[in-house]
């Protein structure tokens, strides 16, 4: 035993330090862990995915989803078949939401602009002063800014706040909104109404600048209705589209014209005149007029089943005119009261806020879940004006541009971490339930809002239940559980109203300036910019241009030629003293005299992924011209930028047309199904059938494909497909297992295009297999062509020999050690699907037909002693139009074998004797016989 001597000076100091550290540690809140469980909940089985019904918002509107969690980690989003905004499918934004949850750039804590990291308590203390001031004057000086509010709970809370503080102002700012449509409906019917076009009943549809099949909160519902109807050749109908640049709707059109946005109203006027409106004959080119008259004839002939849709960029009067036309046509449109309104409250606009800020009357500004600094029209200059608020706070997922201008920033919880409720576009309400405890120190909007009403903080769960407490009668708990389970609340769809007879509005005179115009559109991948920091969406090829990691000003070939511009030339796009520099891209089907730019890029504070990518279209927008800019000057800067693309826009010529079979509806009856080619002699071992009797195959209906990319992102999410980043894309590398090709057999002026998703073909005579020196590419007993990752040495001969080029190589350790930007962060790893290997550097990978899902079903079937049931691949489950079908060819009466007998059936490059298992159904088109130029 050592002698009892006093500790030395050093030792004493060391003990003192340790004591202080321990004391400080002991005082902090105990760390709460989410996983692993010490005592696991009874239902939770380790490694077995659990599905929870919830809802995700896009511009405020709900799409019901099933979130799949493994061991408490949400890893995948799938559609909720019961939900009217999902119908069992997803869109790319819903699929990518899972990555947003794990975004390493998410705000983790309350921050104050000067002092940095703070706490909720500190914020509440800081708020108490300004709040007391506004409370004394019944809320005057309190300004709330939110996005579109469809949440009944949030609406109730805002209503409560405004009732308690009647002088407070509530502003709503939604960067991509339907303002013109809303005003148009009000003009036509005299009251706010939301139109729900029924594409399942409309057979002849004319879209004037409208893109119902394009990205948006209603994409799934509209495209499903449209495609399901067209599956019946008798109800195929005809789709006319007049638009400034090619959209997914334009690709599906049977007759399409590139029409300058300022000429688009004239098309509506011609239709209206054909229906007896007696408007002044508009000034329109012969070609466009012939198109409009042909459409008018067709619309009239199909009265009751004809529909006209006006685009979001058209002025409200033209929307009103479209309503008038639709009423004449007895068009299948349902009208409901807008579900995003609070009864009796008309929210103020950002312009009102700017005025109040100028007057210095803003005492307390709370911007909740919105990023107006990045997305407001540039002439509001909100970034500078917000500084005039005496006290300002921003709540958001990211410390974005707005957070950079406010005094305080509060971290919001992600929708997968919080309780809430949301309404779909038809008014159906869903409960939003958390799948995991908030990863960081965030709170939901419901929990933050009471701070501005002087109420004590309440848990979101309680607040949401409070909203619905009168439902379900005596058995509220049972009702609540049922709603949570189903993912929607029965009977909450807005009642369909009789709108009455629309007025023929006073129409503005058609102006057709000579100047160049630029149309701003929401981006098909980043939407309004809120997804700018989502790497999956940044690397998702845009449906038409296939551009990734950036945006570009789309011009027609002629327009670019006239201006001496080539693809990649950076131009200064200036209007009204504001300008952005943006590269030019030449696209087919763009109208003359107009360029199209998508919004959401050029973010300064999006995060490590989204910062500085692309050009910011919002910088050009003004309150007067939010989406269509006129008199734009383009000046060549002399710089060039590479337009990053993952694949080419294929212009069909000669024999490449066999790659994308197109059939005219009239010729469908004579069409014969094309098989997968005669089984020619081959050095490969013959395929003799599968060991346990399955023969997996996929049939993709190109006619149903709207190129929305939901499958691409779903595959990425399901199969741990890494992001490679813009530098790698520039080197020609990518990792997507599934690509959506676009084929155009028309001309640059009049494209006749179609989409073709290309996963692995799982060839019976797979060219990749005999060339692999180490047998890493092999066939399994069920006809699946497999890649054995841990056997692969990386010769890449398989990809060199793959005629479809569907194999993807890890040139670097994209998922494993050499990730792009911050994608190697721990939080991102939590997203990975535990049933799918994360591939190492130097190995080849490719589509597996979601073999993990096949294996799961096989195990379940073996366990239960039953035959295997349906297996749904990730791409198939995501597809809004059910274009992708997967199944077992060997199963008697299997739908997939039936599809192979469809007259539209064909295989890609069957002449190579690869005998692909993935095959296609041809694209259908029903051109108007009166419009010769639409015929091939």
């Amino acid at each position: 035993m050592s002698p009892l001597i006093p500790p030395s000076r050093r030792e004493a100091l060391r003990l003192l330090g340790a004591g202080i550290t321990l004391a400080a540690g002991g005082c902090s809140r105990p760390v709460e862990e989410i996983v692993p469980y010490v005592r696991a909940p009874e239902q939770l089985l380790p490694g077995v995915p659990a599905r929870y019904a919830t809802a995700l918002s896009l511009s405020g509107w709900a799409r019901g989803v099933h979130a799949i969690a493994v061991d408490g980690r949400p890893i995948k989003i799938e559609g909720n078949p019961l939900h009217p905004g999902s119908l069992g499918a997803t869109d790319l934004f819903a699929e990518a939401a899972i990555l947003d949850l794990y975004d390493p750039d998410r705000s983790r804590t309350v921050t104050e602009r000067v002092n940095g990291i703070a706490s909720w308590d500190m914020f509440e203390r800081a708020l108490s002063g300004p709040f007391a001031t506004v409370q004394r004057v019944r809320g005057r000086g309190l300004h709330l800014v939110t996005g579109r509010i469809t949440s009944p709970t949030l609406a109730r809370q805002i209503e409560g706040l405004l009732r308690a503080l009647p002088e407070a102002t509530w502003h709503v700012h939604e960067p991509v909104n339907d303002g013109n449509a809303e005003h148009g409906a009000e003009l036509a019917f005299g009251r706010p109404l939301r139109a729900l076009p029924r594409l399942d009943r409309a057979e002849v549809i004319l879209c004037v600048g409208a893109d119902p099949l394009g990205p948006g909160p209603d994409q799934i519902r509209l495209s499903r209705a449209f495609i399901d109807r067209r599956r019946d050749p008798a109800r195929f109908g005809r789709l006319y589209v007049a638009e400034a640049a090619l959209t997914p709707t334009g690709v599906k059109a049977d007759a399409r014209r590139a029409v300058h946005p300022l000429d688009q109203p004239a098309i509506l006027a011609v239709i209206a005149n054909a229906l007896g409106a007696g408007l002044a004959p508009p000034d329109l080119s012969d070609e466009a007029r012939r198109f409009a008259l042909a459409a008018a004839d067709d619309l009239k002939a199909q009265e009751g089943r004809a529909l006209v849709l006006a685009g979001p960029a058209l002025a409200p009067e033209w929307h009103a005119l479209a309503h008038w036309i639709n009423a004449r046509l007895r068009a299948p449109v349902d009208f409901i009261a807008p579900p995003d309104r609070i009864e009796g409250r008309m929210p103020a606009t950002l312009a009102d806020l700017a005025g109040a800020l100028d007057r210095g009357s803003v005492t307390c500004l709370a911007i909740l879940g919105s990023d107006p600094v990045a997305t407001a029209p540039a002439d509001l200059d909100l970034g500078a004006r917000i500084e005039r608020a005496r006290f300002s706070v921003h709540a958001g997922l990211h410390g974005d541009e707005t957070a950079g201008k406010t005094h305080w920033h509060l971290p919001l919880t992600h929708e997968l971490e919080s309780w809430s409720d949301l309404r779909a576009t038809d008014g159906t309400a869903s409960l939003v339930q958390p799948l995991l405890r908030p990863l960081y120190d965030g709170r939901s909007l419901h929990e933050i809002l009471p701070l501005f009403a002087g109420r004590p903080a309440t848990a979101g769960h309680t607040l949401v239940r409070e909203t619905w407490k009168d439902q379900g009668g005596a058995d509220f708990e049972g009702w609540w559980r049922r709603c949570l389970h189903d993912g929607l609340i029965e009977g909450t769809a807005a009642p369909i109203l009789d709108p009455g007879e629309p007025r023929l509005p006073a129409l503005p005179t058609l102006r057709r300036g000579e100047g160049f115009a630029v149309e701003l559109r929401p981006d098909p991948c980043l939407w309004d910019g809120r997804f700018a920091n989502n790497a999956w969406l940044q690397e998702c090829p845009k449906p038409i241009s296939k551009q990734v990691w950036g945006n570009a000003l789309a011009l027609s070939r002629n327009e670019a030629g006239r201006r001496g511009l080539e693809a990649g030339d950076v131009v200064q796009t200036a209007v009204g003293g504001r300008s952005v520099e943006v590269p030019v891209v030449i696209e087919s089907g763009v109208a003359e005299g107009v360029g199209v730019l998508t919004l959401g890029y050029g973010r300064e504070r999006a995060g490590a992924i989204g910062n500085g990518i692309g050009a910011d279209g919002y910088k050009l927008a003004t309150q007067a011209e939010p989406r269509l800019l006129t008199n734009v000057a383009l000046t060549k800067t002399g710089r060039t930028e590479t337009i990053l693309r993952t694949q080419n826009y294929v212009e069909i010529e000669g024999e490449t047309k066999t790659l994308f079979r197109q059939i005219d509806l009239a010729a469908l009856s004579e069409a014969e199904p094309k098989g997968i080619g005669a089984d020619q002699p081959s050095l490969l071992a013959p395929w003799t059938g599968d060991k346990d009797g399955h023969a997996w195959a996929m049939v993709i209906d190109t006619d149903a494909c709207i190129g929305c990319n939901a499958c691409v992102v779903a595959c990425q999410s399901e199969n741990n497909v890494p992001v490679v980043g813009p530098e790698e894309i520039a080197r020609g590398r990518m990792m997507h297992w599934l690509r959506v090709d676009i084929y155009d057999e028309g001309s640059p002026e009049a494209p006749r295009a179609g989409f073709q998703p290309v996963p692995c073909m799982h060839c019976e005579h797979a060219p990749c297999e005999p060339v692999c020196p180490v047998a890493a590419s092999i066939h399994d007993g069920e006809g699946l062509n497999l890649q054995v990752y841990n056997r692969c040495v990386g010769t890449r001969f398989c990809e060199a020999n793959c005629p479809y080029k569907v194999r993807r190589f890890n040139f670097f350790g994209y998922a494993d050690g050499q990730p792009y930007a911050n994608l190697g962060a721990e939080s991102v790893k939590a997203q990975r699907n535990p049933n799918v290997t994360v591939r190492a550097r130097g190995v080849m990978e490719k589509c597996t037909y979601c073999i993990q899902r096949i294996a799961t079903e096989r195990q379940a079937a073996e366990r239960d002693g039953r035959p295997m049931g349906e297996v749904v691949t990730a791409c198939q489950s995501a597809c809004p139009t059910r274009a992708i079908r997967f199944g077992d060819l060997a199963e008697p009466g299997s739908p997939i074998a039936e599809l192979r007998k469809d007259p539209r059936h064909y295989a890609l490059m069957e002449e190579l004797n690869t005998r692909p298992r993935t095959t296609y159904l041809a694209n259908l088109r029903s051109p108007n016989p009166a419009l010769k130029e639409d015929h091939a």
Partner: protein, 461 residues
């Protein structure tokens, strides 16, 4: 041929005794120091060697992503370099063995370094397939070794055939070269003045005493090896051709590939021998042993190969068109009108047009012109190899994924730096082993009567 300027056809001196031959070859190694030129060349080659090592280190550490390969054009410089270097290696053995079998005595003075060239070129070529892999550390999985997983190579893959072809070729080249070296090693041993030299050469000479029995065994063994070499040379490059031909891709799936690759290899190999012969002749003052007649003969071979290559290209175009397959025609059109068309025109210029100058004896006998043409041919042959890879992969069946190659810095390094490694190998070799075969040149001198005293001028044995 042995005109007035030259007393003997293959010996450029009237009198050239055995001692003189020995001294000419061995003394620079054993008596004289490396010399200034050697030192400068050595120092000049060193950075290239280091660059090669750095590039290999980088690609092993960071991954094959350093190369310009992409999702569509998955092969690139590594493959082209591999085929090119194997091609270079080919001619060495061909010269040695084919000419030995056909009793072309003039080979004596060039076969040694031609064989060394084969050895180095094949060794350098062997590096490329390994560093081109995604996971080079598992390259040995191509070998059929017993393992607990019971896994074997996939024998249908041309890459496995290739693995065996390179391996056997490399081993063969080493043995063939070493066999030819044996009598000279003994000479070096006998002439060595230092203990270390005697030990070193003595160990390598394997007890060669120059007895009649030794010579008899040597002759039959060497001839047998030479007989083996010819099919081996053909097989190695045929198999390299099959790497491409045994595929499904337009522009690769052609039965002409194996012979076309063999001729191409001979073509670039002879060009490289010419460059080396000119350099060595000048560097080691071997004008007496390497004569204009040698160059004349090699130039004729190159001319012949050039015509065969031109014919092969034309066959490729014709068959592409005549076959009628859209993908094939499309690729042929892409040769001439696609992204790499200028490179393709350069290749035709280098391989088909320029060598036609060799019809003229004046050009064949002008070493400057010959060296220039040889370098141009080597450039053209490299272009041919890279374009075989690029054209087909950039313009395959999947139209939406057509894209071009992006040359990276790493690519440039692994293209240029191994040339320095090759030179480095030669420089080291030249300081250790006789760079010209002493015993074979002596035999020619004997045959041509230059060695024996009193044989009349111009006399041929």
């Amino acid at each position: 041929m042995s005109g007035t300027a030259q007393p003997h056809r293959w010996i450029d001196r009237e009198r050239l005794g055995y001692a003189e031959i020995c001294a000419a070859v061995a003394d620079p190694i054993q008596k004289r120091g490396p010399g200034r030129a050697w030192a400068i060349a050595f120092l000049g080659a060193l950075p290239f060697v280091l660059a090669t090592l750095a590039a290999i280190g980088a690609v092993l550490t960071l991954g094959i992503g350093l190369s310009g390969v992409n999702t569509t054009v998955v092969w690139g410089f590594s493959i082209a370099n591999y085929v090119w270097w194997i091609g270079i290696g080919n001619a060495g053995t061909l010269i040695s063995s084919m000419l030995l079998l056909t009793r072309q005595h003039w080979r004596a003075s060039i076969n040694r370094f031609a064989e060394a060239m084969t050895l180095f070129a094949a060794a350098i070529a062997g590096i490329f397939p390994i560093i081109h892999l995604g996971r080079p550390l598992y390259a040995y999985w191509l070998a059929p070794y017993p393992n607990t997983m019971d896994l074997w190579p996939q024998w249908r893959s041309a890459l496995v055939w290739d693995f065996w072809a390179i391996l056997s070729y490399l081993l063969f080249s080493l043995i063939f070269w070493f066999t030819g070296l044996l009598p000279d090693l003994a000479t070096m041993r006998d002439r060595a003045e230092t203990r270390i030299g005697r030990r070193f050469y003595g160990a390598l000479a394997l007890g060669w005493r120059g007895s009649a029995r030794h010579w008899a065994l040597y002759e039959s063994f060497h001839k047998a090896m030479a007989a083996l070499a010819v099919p081996l040379v053909c097989s190695v490059h045929s198999i390299v051709g099959l790497d491409f031909a045994a595929s499904l891709m337009p522009g690769w799936q052609e039965s002409i590939f194996p012979p076309y690759f063999v001729v191409g290899a001979m073509y670039s190999g002879f060009a490289m021998v010419v460059v080396l012969a000119i350099t060595i002749r000048w560097g080691l003052n071997l004008q007496a042993l390497i004569t204009p007649a040698h160059f004349d003969a090699m130039a004729k071979v190159m001319l012949f190969a050039s015509i065969v290559m031109t014919f092969s290209y034309a066959t490729e175009w014709f068959m592409g068109w005549y076959g009628g397959d859209h993908a094939d025609r499309s690729v042929i059109a892409y040769f001439f009108t696609g992204d790499y068309r200028w490179l393709y025109y350069s290749l035709l210029f280098c391989n088909c047009l320029v060598p036609q100058a060799l019809w003229f004896a004046r050009v064949r006998l002008n070493l400057w012109a010959l060296a220039l043409i040889a370098v141009v041919i080597n450039l053209g042959m490299w272009l041919e190899r890279i374009l075989i890879v690029w054209n087909t992969l950039s313009h395959g069946h999947a139209v939406s994924l057509w894209r071009t190659y992006h040359v990276s810095f790493y690519d440039v390094v692994i293209l240029i730096a191994p040339l320095g490694l090759f030179a480095f190998g030669f420089l080291v070799l030249a300081r250790i082993f006789p760079i010209v075969s002493i015993h074979e040149v002596s035999q020619i001198a004997h045959d041509e009567g230059a060695a024996a005293a009193g044989v009349p001028k111009g006399g041929v044995a």
